[in-house]
Symmetry: C2
Subunit: 257 residues, 2 copies
């Protein structure tokens, strides 16, 4: 008999994870979201029912996956009687303990990736980090994780938080740097396309070598001429001038020692 799953939340992560779970033989019986648009979209993709009414969340699931913004998790959970079923959150930054008031069976299932609804990701390559107090729940979560991913590890809440912080640097802040590059190019009518191979190669490089050894550019070469030329170019770019100066300084400091 296959496990019955309810998804609470229908955002970027929920959309991708629910598909991966369904594709691997688990039965999603319902999707809940406060947003009707999100709920219906995901329910349609999964061909399952949905609700936007928290009181109508299906009581017959074996596992409840909670994929909500960290800031609303507690508020939502407080309104549901899980009857001690297994409830699992997918957050990097929240400890397992945020769930323990709402069920005797709690777990964490954290896939380390950046998710967007519209963009299919191959879940098999995504590392999944599992945590649970009870051995049987841990085993269960592990068996689900191992169906969807080839990289499953146990990790406690403290370590997971560190992982999440580092992901902010390696993904969110990196993407902001892409945004700045795109802005600068756009203001000079240069297509963002020209810089795409550079972006890919920069990411590929650190698959094989330590980032500290992969560093290139004027800051690590202590090439003041180029840095000053660049700063002159950025004089009309408001904050990007300051950003350029501050990151260059950091690269310099990091590598001079």
């Amino acid at each position: 008999m296959s496990l019955k799953v309810v998804f609470i939340g229908a955002g970027n992560l929920a959309s991708q994870l629910s598909k991966a779970i369904q594709n691997n033989g688990f039965k999603i019986i319902q999707v809940y979201s406060r947003s009707k648009k999100s709920a219906t979209e995901l329910a349609e993709i999964l061909s399952v029912s949905y609700t936007t009414n928290i009181k109508e969340i299906d009581k017959n699931a074996d596992i409840y996956f909670i994929a909500l913004k960290d800031s609303v998790i507690k508020e939502v959970l407080a309104q549901i009687d899980f009857q001690n079923k297994l409830i699992v959150h997918c957050s990097g930054s929240l400890p397992l303990s945020v769930l323990t008031d709402y069920s005797d069976n709690c777990g964490v299932f954290y896939p380390l990736q950046t998710f967007t609804k519209s963009r299919f990701v191959d879940f098999s390559e995504i590392p999944v980090f599992i945590e649970s107090e009870k051995k049987e729940n841990e085993e269960l979560l592990k068996s689900i994780a191992e169906k969807v991913s080839e990289k499953v590890e146990n990790m406690g809440s403290e370590q997971r938080k560190i992982l999440h912080v580092s992901a902010v640097f390696a993904c969110n802040f990196v993407n902001y740097m892409y945004t700045v590059a795109a802005d600068i190019l756009k203001s000079n009518n240069i297509s963002f396309d020209v810089i795409k191979p550079l972006i890919l190669e920069t990411a590929r490089k650190v698959q094989e070598m330590e980032p500290v050894l992969a560093q290139t550019g004027p800051a690590v070469r202590f090439d003041e001429n180029v840095i000053n030329e660049h700063l002159k170019e950025l004089e009309n770019f408001g904050d990007y001038h300051e950003l350029y100066k501050s990151i260059s300084k950091r690269i310099f400091e990091h590598h001079k020692s």
Copy 2:
């Protein structure tokens, strides 16, 4: 008769570009570098002669590729009599005009990529930007560029400088963010491997969507709880605490408007 090329410089860029040029039917006749180690290493790979003596640079080349640090180009060029042969620099930030004192035939050949000696890159995918005053030199450089790359464009010095600035954000500053992530993970005995799929996906995403639309994470969600948790985690990480705050603020400002 194939064109005879001398490479002045034997660093990261010179190593990769000279190989690509040689593999596409051009004859490299000599490599010059002040550093004997760099000169011999590259000369061996190319099976050509080398010199570390600037006075012994071969006078019989048709083209001289100058792949030196921007800060030393002028000093080196002033010591060579090019007899008005075509001299070409490969710098994103220097204008064509830095060459005009040293020959009547000058050009720029700028491949937009991050190069490391030890890491082979497929040159065919690298955009190459060409500039020259004389039509015949432009045609010649274009024909070389089109042998090594599928993406060749003309671009003037001012535009190229903008391109180079944006590359600093999209590559050098991005790599610094990877370095910070690696540091944070290492200090907690977590392998950098776990974050590699995230790094790749972050780069792949912007191959298909605008970076501003690809932004995820607590800063763009205005999720103060998570940001404050992360800042607490970073309290013992010195400058990374400040860096986290300042980039999060920028993402927030960028997306609230």
